[in-house]
């Protein structure tokens, strides 16, 4: 954390909302990305990220300065997203949401972005099939490169839980990849037989 951020944090602790807005500006990308990877939809990610910063702002007094601020924020975001996913799973599927989900993200034109976005969408499809707890652990490990110890602290779970969730998540991602490779191969074969 830079000196300016520390200063903003001190001011925000005194109730200065503008100072906290500076912090929102600084950490918006990692928080949003985590929410997006957890929820898989831009609108839900935006709402969850906004809520994360609000919760952080209202509970700023509980922040332990010994811990990295980013990890604290990610911890709030991950817990909120896990809750959201759990609630969504319990509710019946909302048709509007399915329509919104399939119509998401009109891709901007540059080719590089398209390739990156293909990876991004492919990985999102694989992530969407994971349960919320395993998903959070996998995202923190591979998108944020947190160690197993840091994940324990962030999600407040035991090390053995982190290990078993990671194992399950990796197995799931591998299975998903294999399935997508197989379906791509089938599509290619069908395409080739059609052209012949």
């Amino acid at each position: 954390m830079t000196n300016i951020e520390a200063e903003c944090l001190t001011l925000a602790l005194q109730g200065n909302q503008d100072a906290f807005t500076q912090i929102v500006d600084t950490y918006q990308n990692p928080v949003y990305n985590l929410c997006y990877r957890m929820l898989g939809n831009p609108q839900a990610a935006e709402d969850a990220a906004q809520e994360t910063f609000w919760r952080a702002y209202s509970n700023l007094k509980r922040y332990d300065p010994e811990r990295p601020f980013a990890t604290w924020l990610l911890s709030i975001a991950a817990h909120h997203c896990i809750d959201q996913q759990r609630r969504k799973r319990l509710m019946t599927v909302d048709l509007d949401e399915i329509i919104e989900f399939s119509a998401e993200d009109p891709a901007p034109n540059p080719e590089k972005v398209i390739v990156e976005s293909e990876f991004s969408e492919e990985i999102q499809r694989q992530l969407n099939g994971l349960n919320e707890n395993d998903r959070a652990v996998l995202i923190l490990r591979y998108f944020y490169e947190l160690s197993e110890e840091e994940i324990c602290q962030t999600l407040q779970i035991s090390k053995s839980a982190v290990k078993s969730r990671l194992h399950r998540a990796r197995q799931h991602m591998t299975d998903q990849w294999t399935t997508s490779q197989e379906s791509q191969a089938t599509e290619r074969r069908q395409h080739e037989s059609q052209t012949i």
């Binding site: 990308n29 990305n33 694989q126 591998t174 998903q176 990849w177």
Partner: protein, 180 residues
């Protein structure tokens, strides 16, 4: 060595010794299942590394400020509701205490009825004395003063109506926040 052990080496990212690495390589060459697992996991991992980080639409912090503003307003509304609820609880318990102290529910009902009729009676009495007082005022009030007097009454009514309308608007706005 059993198949499970290699699966764990592949998926759990153990730090392997050189001899373990050699064992794994030999097994991968012989076992298609583990080989597929290894290829799949390496590819997935690469995909996660290559996936671009998602960023919010521009103006996120400005939207957050508006969001925080709404949350603050909701907090105030919630606090007001709690106060009203507490007041109702106090009234309820006071009336309950009164009911118990006065001995019967019918007594309390009768007391309330008496108080209400007394209040109504006093109000009509007050109004009729006011009418009496107006009727006995000197008749020499000029017409212009009369116009000013009625003008003032009209102005008061208009201000009252406007305030009511304003309160209603505010209530509608807070309801919008609530349903957002």
């Amino acid at each position: 060595m059993n198949h499970k052990q290699f699966e764990s080496w592949i998926l759990d990212e153990h730090k392997l010794s050189d001899s373990q690495k050699a064992d794994l390589l030999i097994h991968l060459a012989a076992c298609p299942k583990c080989s597929q697992l290894d290829t799949g996991w390496q590819a997935s991992r690469k995909l996660m590394k290559q996936a671009a980080a998602k960023t919010p639409e521009p103006g996120f912090s400005v939207r957050w400020q508006a969001f925080a503003e709404k949350k603050c307003q909701m907090k105030v509304i919630r606090r007001q509701r709690v106060s009203i609820f507490m007041a109702l609880v106090v009234v309820f318990f006071l009336s309950l205490t009164y009911m118990v102290a006065s001995g019967s529910f019918l007594h309390m009902l009768a007391d309330i009825f008496t108080s209400a009729t007394t209040l109504l009676f006093n109000m009509t009495k007050g109004l009729s004395s006011f009418g009496y007082w107006i009727g006995h005022m000197p008749v020499v009030v000029p017409l212009a003063v009369g116009f000013i007097f009625f003008g003032l009454i009209n102005a008061f009514i208009l201000v009252g109506l406007f305030t009511l309308w304003n309160i209603r608007q505010r209530k509608l706005q807070t309801d919008e926040i609530k349903t957002d």
